[in-house]
């Protein structure tokens, strides 16, 4: 059996409020606020960020045997997306990487298989959720990612006491391949289908674990059917203070929702705390966990809690930009040639730079080069380079500009030359900043992004820089 030994999350910088939708459409939108992936993010890039966050909480030196990536909004079909995450994390080739998805329920199945496997595993869940303009899915969906790390029992931060799973076939929601919005059946029908499944699985799991609902310290209920989730929480009798409720602030993030909720519970869990997750998707999957003393180790290594990620630096996106970013507004493109697709050969040859942001340092004179090169610019030594990953290093802006001419899916492009803490300079694109937030000396950190999608559908992934914010 594999034990849960680490966790991490990623909540994007942007928010869309129901008010923002209502101001344009005149109706709908609801009362909540949702998280929004930027124009340069997708399920893969958010997965990378969550995975980096999760690996930081794992025991030092941990390397998984496999990466499992779960999403209902894959950037590619046929081609594995987990390999880009694998590359961005600079994992060696003997570490496997697989995609799972299609249905939001996939995550429950993958977690069950991984737990039973005994393998060292990194499960990355990530989703972009939206719907037709004005729909409940659009307003209540959320974009986010979560990653869970599995390893040896000695490192466990929470032990699984019991699980229960019930399955049924019914038309709650569906999406035909190629569609970018779901269809849903009448709300009350789904609720009536979910309640018996959820209640039975919950009861079975608690019984097997030998605990009662009143002992639960943290209840995490996930599911795209809001009414069913709400009804079940009410029925469970677990007091509101013990129920994780992030949805009103970031939305319902599909395949990532379970991991986000569990991570939030783990952030707050004391050793011995009882945590129950209930996932409602084409059935019900219930897991009963008890936090171990090890959860304190994870707390100590955690970079930022889920709450800090939600409440920290963020900015409201206009509904017009939101629609544009999701491809629902066909706006006049910049009067520049569309950028070329990255070519397969160069992308493979420079994989360590493009995906892992790995520089080279001259072994003879110590000069660092970004990107990695074979000949030293300073002492001209040939093939004396040592690889150095700089993705997790901070850098400072040496000079910068606001480029109103260059192609960008969201002009103007902010470009900067940045100097890394460990030496070396590179030209980078700045993301998640207004021009007046950048000046010479501004501290930045690197983030994995999708620069653009070329005309042939190839996504151009590379790293950008974003300001290190004081309240982070």
């Amino acid at each position: 059996m594999s034990a849960l030994i680490g966790y991490g999350t990623y909540v994007p910088y942007w928010r869309l409020s129901g008010k923002g939708i209502r101001e344009v459409l005149g109706t709908g939108g609801g009362k909540a606020t949702r998280a929004v992936a930027a124009y340069d993010e997708d399920s893969t890039t958010m997965g990378v960020e969550a995975a980096r966050d999760a690996l930081a909480t794992a025991p030092p030196g941990f390397v998984p045997e496999a990466v499992y990536f779960v999403t209902t909004s894959p950037a590619y079909l046929d081609k594995t997306n987990a390999t880009a995450i694998h590359a961005a994390l600079a994992l060696p080739q003997h570490v496997a990487a697989y995609d799972f998805g299609g249905a939001a329920r996939s995550v429950a199945g993958v977690l069950e298989l991984v737990r039973a496997s005994g393998a060292l595993a990194l499960v990355v869940t990530s989703d972009l959720r939206t719907g037709l303009p004005g729909s409940a899915d659009e307003a209540s969906g959320g974009d986010a990612a979560a990653a869970l790390v599995f390893g040896a029992g000695d490192d466990a931060i929470a032990d699984v006491l019991a699980t229960a799973s019930l399955t049924d076939e019914f038309l709650d929601r569906w999406r035909v391949p190629g569609e970018d919005a779901s269809h849903v059946w009448e709300d009350r029908f789904g609720d009536s289908a979910y309640q018996p499944l959820a209640r039975a699985a919950f009861t079975d799991a608690l019984k097997e674990a030998g605990v009662t609902a009143s002992e639960i310290d943290h209840l995490v209920v996930s599911g795209l059917h809001a009414r069913a989730v709400k009804s079940f929480v009410k029925w469970s009798g677990v007091p509101a203070g013990a129920v994780t409720d992030l949805e009103s602030r970031i939305g319902t993030s599909g395949a990532a929702q379970l991991g986000i909720g569990l991570s939030d519970a783990l952030d707050r869990a004391q050793p011995g705390a009882l945590i129950v997750t209930v996932a409602l998707a084409d059935g019900a999957d219930v897991t009963v966990l008890r936090a171990t003393d090890g959860v304190r180790n994870a707390h100590g290594r955690r970079i930022r809690s889920v709450t800090d990620q939600i409440d920290g630096a963020h900015r409201e996106v206009s509904y017009g930009d939101f629609l544009t970013w999701r491809g629902r507004l066909d706006r006049e493109p910049p009067r520049r040639p569309n950028p070329a697709a990255p070519a397969a050969g160069p992308a493979l040859r420079h994989k360590d730079w493009k995906f892992a942001l790995t520089a080279s340092r001259c072994d003879s004179c110590g000069t660092r080069h970004l990107p990695a090169v074979r000949v030293c610019v300073k002492c001209h030594a040939v093939d004396r380079m040592v690889a150095e990953r700089v993705a997790d290093e901070k850098a400072a802006v040496a000079t910068y500009t606001v480029d109103r001419l260059a192609f960008s899916p969201a002009p103007p492009l902010i470009a900067a030359m940045v100097d890394y803490a460990g030496g070396g300079r590179a030209g980078v694109e700045i993301t998640e900043a207004q021009p007046d937030e950048i000046t010479i000396g501004t501290k930045v950190e690197m983030t994995f992004r999708r620069l653009y999608t070329a005309d042939n559908g190839v996504h151009n992934y590379f790293w950008k820089a974003r300001p290190v914010r004081e309240d982070d």
Binding site: P342, P371, V377, V402, L413
Partner: protein, 396 residues
């Protein structure tokens, strides 16, 4: 020694240059035919007597046939060269060396660019297939890095920097207004320049060179043969080219207030030409003013002003048409326009007119006989730079 040089071994005996601008009714072929034709007819040298040709273009053709096909040249050696925005100078440089080597008696260097067929404003070209991580920043953006860096290093207030940039654009428009071949032939007020919409950083539209179509050509021969063709030849005094290793974009030590490639090329060209005090020895200079901060930095890199002082010299009018050292008397890239492959030869064309006293309304009244061209390609920190010195008389 960096280079031996070919001082006074090669002469320019004929030149041609089309008007630069938006030539919707002319292709690269037409522009080449026009420029080559002017060089030939104005010098009386028939194309049949030219032994070899060079054609410089970055985006408007590949191969020597770029020139031989439109001009229907019969089986002459034609070499196409390219070196970013210094392409025109590279055509000239290689042609000079062919003559100096003794391989040919009479050669022609040509350059052309047809930019306005792309359908885009600004420069639009795709490099070789790559991994998608190349800096997407536009040309004005990378050159806009110079302005805040210069301001910071020399404690020049940003509003004064804007005045300096505005003066450079204003001066080059003043000069262009006196040039019937320039793309922009109107004077522009400083208020209009300073309040123009921004393109990148603090660069407004008037801080950027014109995107244009055009061609230029020069006929070269051995210096001793020059007077067979013209009474007033120009002699090649020095030719230098420096290609950088990209150290600037890799190294935190580079501060964006200089082009190392330019200082190296200038030192080499001055040594070949015997120039020790460029500010006082040169009659004029044509420099690569792709963007106004570039011209500012070049004044220091080319030794026209001490480090940190060029901004004052610009404001004092030192480089105006009536100043001590007129810079870009023909309007420069800013006003004459910048058809990439032609620009280096266009700079030479102005030296040809000025040193021969044929520059009309913008003729510089000077007894000095040396002129400089400077051509740059690439971006700050990673570029190629060309510098030449030509003169209307032979040294002893």
């Amino acid at each position: 020694m960096a280079s031996t040089g070919i001082r006074d071994r090669v002469a320019i005996v004929g030149m041609g240059c089309t008007p630069f601008g938006e030539h919707w009714n002319k292709g690269a072929d037409d522009l080449l035919i026009d420029a080559v034709g002017e060089a030939s007819t104005s010098s009386g040298i028939e194309l049949a007597h030219i032994d070899a040709y060079w054609v410089g273009t970055m985006l408007s053709g590949t191969g020597g046939t770029t020139l031989s096909l439109p001009l229907k040249l019969d089986y002459k050696p034609v070499t196409r060269v390219e070196n970013f925005c210094a392409t025109g100078s590279e055509s000239f440089r290689n042609a000079c060396y062919a003559v100096a080597s003794g391989a040919y008696d009479l050669v022609m260097a040509t350059g052309v660019e047809k930019l306005k067929d792309s359908g885009f404003s600004g420069l639009a070209y795709a490099g070789p297939p790559d991994d998608g991580t190349e800096d997407p920043t536009s040309a004005p953006a990378v050159f806009s890095f110079l302005e805040p860096a210069y301001a910071e290093k020399y404690s020049v207030p940003r509003d004064v920097m804007k005045e300096v940039m505005t003066h450079i654009a204003w001066k080059n428009h003043q000069n262009g207004a006196r040039n019937p071949r320039a793309q922009f032939q109107s004077e522009v007020s400083k208020e209009t320049i300073a309040s123009a919409p921004l393109v990148a950083g603090s660069l407004g539209i008037f801080d950027c060179s014109g995107v244009s179509d055009g061609a230029a050509a020069a006929i070269l021969c051995r210096a001793e043969d020059a007077h067979k063709y013209t009474d007033r030849p120009l002699y090649v005094k020095g030719l230098a080219l420096a290609a950088g290793s990209g150290a600037g974009v890799l190294s935190p030590e580079y501060d964006y207030t200089t082009f190392d490639e330019v200082t190296r090329a200038a030192a080499d060209a001055y040594r070949q030409a015997g120039i020790s005090d460029p500010r006082n020895q040169l009659a004029m200079a044509e420099v690569h003013d792709c963007f106004t901060p570039t011209e500012l930095v070049l004044m220091e890199d080319l030794g026209f002003a001490p480090r940190g002082s060029a901004w004052k010299a610009v404001l004092d009018g030192t480089f105006d048409l009536s100043g001590d050292l007129p810079v870009n008397p023909d309007g420069g890239l800013k006003s004459f326009g910048h058809p990439i492959g032609a620009s280096g030869l266009r700079m030479l064309f102005e030296c040809w007119l000025q040193l021969r006293g044929e520059a009309g309304a913008r003729q510089i009244d000077t007894g000095k006989t040396r002129a400089l061209t400077h051509n740059l390609g690439g971006r700050p920190g990673r570029c190629v730079s060309f510098v030449s010195v030509v003169g209307s008389d032979k040294d002893e």
